[in-house]
């Protein structure tokens, strides 16, 4: 059963879509494009799609990943062109590869995300970042299903730099560690309502650096 992994962007015209809205949009766009999918079982069969990570409402991104279970006989190019012809303005597929049968789902391998944070209020920003990174522990309160938990998130900040136009953040993202942008902003004392957030990438982070989920498909 062929599986395709595609990188797509979510841009300004559709930035207020929720993750579920994006899922729905893909389902319908695939139908419009006439791309034949495999369906799930059960009472409400849906085309099999699997996303690497949910993207929050209000956030744009240049690199989101979706795994598609497509029917035989459709080429990568066909799917990409077809989808781009049917997707609404603001979502675009940029590249795609076929996955080998044993390749784990995108959600399972992605463990890091990089962001550009555009803050309105930048007073003492460099100093605040420097102070934050100096700490060995950074405690935050998080509401989980098991109740309120206090977690040390210092090890989940892989990079935090004040660049010319924005603050660059690289953080853990996934089941083995997850740090949300709002949590970092709170640590920086920034009001998240005044910040424009753009996800620059989703990555497989290894000792030798960041790897694209499209390149890493052959190595376990």
């Amino acid at each position: 059963m062929p599986r395709l992994r595609a990188r797509f962007s979510k841009e300004q015209p559709v930035k207020y879509l929720s993750h579920l809205d994006v899922v729905r949009t893909f389902e319908r766009s695939l139908k419009r494009a006439g791309i034949v999918m495999h369906y799930s079982e059960g009472y409400h069969p849906k085309p099999k799609l699997s996303f690497a990570s949910a993207l929050a409402v209000g956030v744009t991104s240049e690199a989101e990943y979706v795994d598609l279970d497509i029917a035989e006989g459709q080429s990568c190019n066909q799917v990409v062109t077809g989808l781009n012809g049917a997707l609404p303005q603001g979502i675009e597929v940029h590249e795609a590869v076929f996955l080998p049968p044993e390749a784990p789902a995108a959600m399972a391998v992605v463990n890091a995300a990089s962001y550009c944070l555009y803050l309105e209020e930048t007073e003492n920003l460099c100093a605040r970042i420097r102070d934050l990174l100096h700490e060995n522990e950074l405690w935050i309160r998080r509401q989980t299903k098991k109740g309120q938990r206090t977690i040390d998130v210092r090890r989940w900040i892989f990079a935090l730099e004040a660049r010319e136009q924005c603050v660059y953040l690289e953080a853990a993202s996934g089941s083995s560690g997850n740090l949300r942008v709002e949590e970092v902003l709170r640590l920086l004392d920034a009001d998240h309502e005044d910040v424009r957030v753009h996800r620059a990438g989703l990555w497989i982070r290894k000792k030798n650096g960041l790897h694209s989920p499209l390149q890493e498909v052959y190595r376990p």
């Binding site: 015209p13 559709v14 207020y16 879509l17 929720s18 579920l20 809205d21 729905r24 949009t25 389902e27 319908r28 766009s29 695939l30 139908k31 419009r32 369906y39 009472y43 409400h44 069969p45 849906k46 085309p47 409402v57 209000g58 049917a86 609404p88 303005q89 603001g90 309502e193």
Partner: protein, 620 residues
């Protein structure tokens, strides 16, 4: 404009309600349009996007090269507050144009509890509420939809009102507006003079209401020469001649009725006596199976939806429903596409039909017995027997459905407590049947009983009847609540206060306009939403305007009374309605005129139309 909106959006719930860019949304160049119209729906985006009527109008207007139509919805309360403090006027979705810039703004009157949103939207747009206060600077404010047949409580707010099916009338209206614009600048009076000459268009300002010494409505007087005594509805004689929409906007967020909707027919001739739609949309006009299938195919391809809805007032009555369902089944089996049928008539739903659509992905099944005893069903002319309901449910359960929804009303004319208890008896009979037929491994059967409070509507045989008192309605609701306490049964009902207000406005007169303004001034809005509904503000509004809420809801008219809506003609003879009313009280039933003999309602001769039935043979 865009920047100002962008600044607010991060602070509101569901910002995607306001951002546009949905697939199939139409963005036209304002410079190319001779006439521009905003289709304003007086509720929030998710509700308005489900309205089929506006989808049809949006497409037909945008198909013209000289006109454009854009959408506008009521901003939710949080967005409204942000817009007010930012000084942002109400804007259209597609181009973010302030509504005041449009030539025409149309409102659809679907439900009395949306009336406050109309005034809120006018306020937010910066447009004076009353027609007489508007100048040449302001757009023409028009209305249509089923409640137009008693638009009197809204009379001062609309420049023109369209009665009946608007697909033809809207083009005539746009042609008039376009011509009037070219003969610029004209007084609003001249525009409405031309509009009022169009068939089916009512100009409220041409009439004045009169009241007698007791405060009862005593008639409407024309204040303009040659204003017609009555305005008769527009009707499309043959649905086959009406091109279907070639696309639907596909929303990003979840909205109601989020599927491909195709009308299989318009109108219904069963003659249920409580049903206003059944009277207003006569005669019954069916589409052919080929037309319907083609529409479905085209719309699925251009939207990517995975669910089809065959809509009409009574899809089970469509003469070719079995063939249509069988052919759709064949076409879409294995594609993951579901077929949804809105509430079915119990007597025309057969085991065969259930089997035809069983292989589609199942959605829930709804039946509307409406009354709990045969006696009361005869009174309301809902010709369904208990055996028919049981047979239909048997067919449904055996075919694998496990969720049954049953619609009922309380407060129907001549109703007794035994009739109310009958609802519970029926619900349990259905549940018991479901349990008997239950196979291990399948989901357990459940029955949802949804009970509404009856509201007498204009142009029905019950238009003379008062609504039950709120106390009595509440008592009946609680009685059912006790009777239906059971794990397999879900009981749904709504607060009676909303129903009382609905009843007041449904059969109200022009004096309610002031009540409406007072209510909006006191913060009323989104009254159909229980968490937004403020009954005490409404009571104050009635007091402030010197009107009596319960007086209106419980009005009892006499046969020879002049009714505030007599001049708004649905083509049905008033004598027919009275005759049906008397038949109801005598518990006599009337035939469906497509199958049985003509019942003499008058619509075919008045409007030169007739029932159009596609299939032959037995579908009774």
């Amino acid at each position: 404009m865009n920047d100002r909106i962008e600044r607010i959006l991060p602070r509101v719930m569901k910002p995607a309600r306001y951002t546009n860019n949905e697939y199939n949304a139409v963005h036209k160049n304002w410079d190319d349009a001779d006439v521009t119209m905003a289709l304003a729906f007086p509720d929030v985006y998710e509700v308005g996007m489900g309205h089929l009527g506006y989808k049809l109008l949006y497409n037909t207007i945008n198909a013209r090269t000289d006109a454009l139509a854009e959408r506008a919805y009521a901003p939710w309360v949080d967005m409204e507050a942000e817009m007010k403090s930012a000084g942002l006027p109400l804007f259209s979705l597609e181009s973010k144009t302030p509504l005041t810039a449009f030539d025409v703004i149309g409102f659809t009157l679907q439900y009395e509890m949306s009336y406050t949103n109309i005034l809120k939207m006018l306020d937010l747009a910066g447009i004076p509420r009353r027609s007489q206060e508007r100048t040449q600077e302001h757009p023409l404010i028009i209305a249509g939809g089923p409640c137009a047949f008693n638009v009197e409580p809204l009379a001062p707010f609309f420049d023109a009102v369209v009665l009946g099916e608007a697909e033809g009338a809207i083009h005539e209206i746009l042609d008039v507006v376009s011509a009037c614009k070219k003969r610029a600048p004209l007084a609003r009076q001249d525009w409405t003079a031309s509009l009022g000459r169009l068939a089916g268009v009512y100009i409220p300002a041409w009439y004045e209401a009169q009241y007698d010494d007791q405060g009862a409505f005593s008639g409407l007087q024309t204040v303009k020469d040659d204003a017609p005594d009555k305005i008769t509805k527009r009707v499309i004689p043959d649905m086959e001649q009406l091109p279907g929409p070639d696309s639907f906007i596909v929303p990003f967020i979840e909205v109601v009725h989020d599927r491909v909707m195709v009308e299989v027919m318009r109108g219904c001739t069963r003659g249920c006596r409580f049903c206003q739609a059944g009277m207003l949309y006569r005669p019954a006009r069916e589409r052919s199976v080929e037309t319907i299938k083609k529409q479905i195919q085209d719309l699925l391809a251009v939207t990517g939806y995975d669910e089809i809805s065959l809509t009409s007032l009574s899809t089970g009555d469509y003469s070719c429903i079995r063939d249509l369902a069988a052919e759709l089944m064949q076409e879409y089996e294995g594609t993951g596409t579901a077929l949804s049928l809105p509430s079915l008539r119990v007597d025309s739903f057969s085991v065969e039909l259930a089997k035809e659509i069983q292989r589609f992905r199942k959605t829930g099944l709804t039946f509307a017995p409406e009354a709990g005893t045969q006696r009361l069903r005869n009174v309301i002319n809902k010709n369904v027997t208990e055996d028919q309901l049981m047979e239909a449910c048997r067919g449904a359960f055996e075919a694998g459905w496990h969720q049954m929804k049953l619609y009922f009303m309380i407060g129907l004319p001549t109703e007794t407590m035994d009739d109310v208890d009958g609802i519970a008896r029926l619900a349990f009979r259905v549940l018991d049947m479901g349990r008997k037929l239950h196979k291990a491994g399948r989901r357990r059967p459940t029955v949802t009983v949804s009970v509404s409070s009856f509201v007498p509507k204009v142009d029905t045989p019950f238009q003379w009847e008062p609504q039950d008192t709120p106390g009595l309605l509440h008592k009946k609701q609680m009685r059912l609540k006790d009777a239906l306490k059971h794990p397999g049964i879900q009981y749904q009902y709504h607060d009676v206060t909303t129903s009382v207000l609905e009843a007041a406005f449904a059969r109200g007169d022009r004096r309610l306009a002031e009540v409406l303004e007072e209510a909006v001034d006191r913060g009323c809005g989104f009254d159909a939403w229980s968490e937004q509904f403020r009954y005490s503000n409404w009571q104050e509004a009635f007091s402030a305007a010197g009107q009596n809420l319960h007086g209106y809801a419980q009005q009892c008219f006499a046969e020879n009374d002049v009714l505030p809506w007599d001049h708004l003609d649905a083509g049905i003879e008033k004598s027919f309605l009275w005759q049906e009313y008397q038949a109801a009280l005598a518990e006599e039933v009337t035939d469906d005129c497509r199958i049985g003999s003509c019942s003499g309602c008058g619509v075919c001769s008045a409007l030169k139309v007739k029932n159009i039935v596609q299939g032959g043979g037995d579908h009774a």
